[in-house]
Amino acid sequence: MNSKERVLKVLRNEEPDRVPLMYRDVPEVRSRLKNDLNLSTDEELFQYLDVDFRWVGPDYVGPKMELENGNRRDFWGVEWKYTKFSDGAGYWNEVDHPLKDVTDPKVLDEIQWPQLEWWDFSKIEEQCDRYADYAIMTNPGIPSPAIFQNPIQPLIGVERSLMEAYLNPEFFMALTEKILEFQVPFIEKMMQAANGKIDFFRIGDDFGTQQGLLMDVDTWKGFIQPGFKAMADTAKKYGAHYYQHSCGAIRDLIPAFIETGVEVLDPVQVKANGMIPAELKAEFGNQVCFSGGVDEQELLPHGTPDEVRTGVHQLLDDMARGGGFIIGPSHNFQDDIPTENILAMYEAAKTWKY
């Protein structure tokens, strides 16, 4: 059984030979793992860990992003700065919100939005063929788009983006429309170029906090759901499955996700309020496949390798039986997670039996 078959099998709620393995990280972890394991390429690392997924997408060939001050300006016009949290590691964060003072929907017509020509789609099918044995997912970044967290939050600022649907709903809708006018054709072109060979189209947005939802379900249905559905339906025309990411305590939103057509829900942030694996499985297990679940707020950074192994087996006992579960970290592996814990996690997952 190859990786693609294994993943598609759990999606049909059947049990394959072993639980499928997801992987996601920050760049610092990727280079550390390769270094610690004496591997030189990403592909070697994925093979070493037996990761069942591979990622594909178009190449960016648009206007240069690097700025003279060392920052980057992305294709939405947002400037990002690298901020360190320790000597060897850091995160990119936005410096300004270019539309923070724009409240009139008409102004959105005068703005330079990203263009499809800024990407080269010609090599996607070749990438899919190279990884034909694996479950193929859209790359992080614009091939796995969002609406709310990106680009609305960077464009108008996080607080305004949270209040906008209530205080200036016309603007929120107009902005969403502009974003979709670019993103939907982008998805169409990407899927066409892949010739039906992309298995998972991912939307990467966030609607949960540690305690509950970032907004109420009705607002989500009114302002977010239509855009997600438009993007996902576009990808589905080409045979892709709809894989949705949202951090946090999103249990109350799961029925709405299912209604939107979500087939896989990630990353199951188990320490967030109400995100209890066995309960999620019992309540939603025959309607949606879950992906993720290995806690990185406590277990992965602070546990011993033995504790990680026990935690992984417990999680799999709760969630994996009968299919419908892919195991992975509850967010990108962060730089505070020791290499041996990452190795223990994959090893434990591979030795667990259905």
Partner: protein
């Protein structure tokens, strides 16, 4: 009690910012916190009474509902914004000492961390409960807190961290502050932070939500 004070409390509770704001739908077209605060001042109501009988009352309700998950972050932010509009009218009086504040709260998200939604909510709730708030923003280093303590020796410190990777910096900041000012009160919070962690790094108070930190500040502020 003045009817307008209760209307103002309701504006804060339900996030009615000003007349132009379309939210909440049931108050559409009515005066909001902005207009009513100004009217109250024009009528000669004391700024301290407006703060304690309307703003703090409204904010307390908001805090309760938020911690019970009855309202969400957007509603919280709109209430806070309504508060800000009201405070803009009151601030000149506080500056001249005509109305008293309970104390000063210096808050920031720790070095390397840029999550600020929660920190801002805490800042707004604390301000809404009668404290002066100095918000140092995100990615704040120990030196910046120390510099602020030198200017405001009795201030409370609030640290927010949303990442396990930046909790280490929270520990570093606490130990630098306590090294110089062992008596300074430091409150901490954020998604991955726990009471155990608070005990371990020697901070004075951990709270999972803004309600708790307000209670803590009030208990210390009253005692001193």
């Amino acid at each position: 009690m003045n009817d307008k004070l209760s209307t103002l409390a309701a504006c804060i509770e339900f996030g009615k910012i000003n007349k132009a704001a379309p939210y909440p739908p049931q108050m559409k077209g009515q005066d909001g916190a902005d207009e009513i605060t100004k009217q109250l001042l024009d009528e000669g109501v004391a700024p301290g009474d407006i703060l304690s009988d309307a703003l703090i009352k409204g904010m307390e309700k908001v805090g309760e509902k938020f911690s019970k998950n009855q309202i969400f972050v957007p509603q919280m932010l709109m209430s806070a914004k309504a508060m800000q509009f009201a405070m803009n009218h009151l601030k000149p009086f506080f500056a001249t000492g005509e109305a008293d504040r309970r104390g000063t709260f210096v808050v920031g998200t720790v070095e390397g961390d840029l999550h600020d939604i929660g920190k801002n909510i805490v800042a707004m709730m604390v301000e809404g409960n009668g404290y002066e708030v100095i918000d140092l923003g995100v990615d704040v280093k120990a030196e910046q807190f120390v510099a602020e303590i030198e200017k405001n020796p009795n201030c409370f410190i609030g640290l927010s961290a949303l990442l396990t990777t930046t909790m280490a910096n929270m520990e570093k900041i606490v130990s630098e502050i306590k090294g110089k000012y062992p008596e300074q009160n430091i409150c901490i919070g954020g998604a991955p932070v726990t009471q155990d962690f608070c005990d371990k790094i020697g901070a004075d108070s951990y709270n999972p939500d803004p309600q708790g930190v307000v209670k803590f500040l009030n208990s210390v502020a009253v005692a001193s």
